[in-house]
């Protein structure tokens, strides 16, 4: 959907069609004029169609955040709960927070409803804006709480690994959760972490580092998320 060529009677008409097809206002289109077109004599002889090439402008994160908020709010209209969505454009992603009545319905088991909402909103607006837009959907501060408990888990497991001098694996985790584990143990010299397994079964394995032997291997510790 990134680039589109449109031929119409006039330039104005071509731009209007472009906006319609890409569902974007004119300000968000990068328009390249291939031929201006002319109506010719009496509108018949030598009439030339106007031709343009358009692509969506690299959208600002503010615009993406606004659209993401609209899409999520629309989805939530179907959920029988009072909800308000707050949107924030952060450096590398759009952050959406659902303010609701405190029920876990929108969070789901292990945050799976939030993850599903986040995945769909990201897919929908990325397609619309022609560029990959990472989205994080949160509710009731769940993401921060989850991060905290994963960090606690990482510390407990690493203590156990050091005590038993044997590698230990976490349960299956998604990429976001694995990243938190890797980061939590990044500055822990006595262990190293590595993601293992395929697809949904991917997990983090924490290995003990033998004293004195592990310094060179430590460098690649976080390369395999």
């Amino acid at each position: 959907m990134s680039v589109l060529e449109i031929e119409e009677k006039s330039l104005e008409e071509a731009i209007r069609v472009a906006c319609e097809r890409l569902k974007l206002p004119r300000e968000l289109l990068e328009i390249e004029i291939i031929s201006k077109g002319s109506s010719g004599i009496f509108g018949i002889v030598g009439a030339k169609k106007a031709k343009i090439r358009v692509r969506p402008k690299v959208p600002s994160f503010e615009h993406a955040a606004e659209r993401a908020k609209e899409v999520l709010s629309y989805i939530l209209e179907y959920v029988n709960l009072p909800t308000v969505v707050e949107a924030e454009a952060r450096d590398d992603h759009v952050y959406l927070n659902i303010v609701s009545n405190g029920s876990g319905l929108l969070i789901g088991k292990k945050g799976q409803t939030l993850t599903a909402l986040q995945y769909l909103v990201s897919r929908i607006i990325s397609k619309e804006l022609g560029r990959n837009i990472p989205v994080v959907v949160d509710a009731e501060n769940y993401r921060a709480r989850r991060e905290k408990s994963l960090q606690d888990l990482a510390r407990q497991l690493s203590a156990k690994v050091k005590r038993l001098k044997k590698p230990i694996a976490t349960g299956p985790m998604n990429a976001q959760d694995r990243r938190i584990i890797h980061l939590a143990l990044k500055d822990e010299p006595a262990v190293k972490t590595k993601s293992k397994g395929e697809g949904n079964m991917r997990r983090v394995v924490i290995y003990p580092v033998r004293a004195g032997g592990g310094s060179s291997r430590n460098n690649s510790r976080n390369s395999n998320r």
Binding site: V71, V79, Q112, T113, A116, I124
Partner: protein, 84 residues
């Protein structure tokens, strides 16, 4: 807002699916409702099938999860099948 729940959930499913496919006009959705469950069947253009199912069913499962949350808020269950 007074539409039956099956109709409303169908609209939500339709919105999500149509936003993801390349041929929204080829999206067909049917919904039936009994006292506990809403049953939906989805058909899309063959070239959109992969797009709507996603890697390891990721996309279709995300759609199901969102529909289930919406249905649960009305104390109902929902099932979405994709017809190949």
């Amino acid at each position: 807002m007074n539409e039956p729940l099956s109709k409303r959930l169908k609209n939500l499913a339709e919105f999500l699916v149509k936003a993801l496919v390349t041929k929204p006009d080829d999206v067909l959705l049917a919904a039936r409702e009994n006292e506990r469950t809403i049953l939906m069947e989805l058909k899309v253009a063959p070239e959109d099938l992969g797009r709507i199912i996603g890697k390891e069913g990721h996309t279709i499962n995300a759609i199901r999860t969102v529909l289930q949350a919406a249905a649960a808020s009305h104390n109902k269950k929902v099932r979405l099948d994709v017809l190949g």
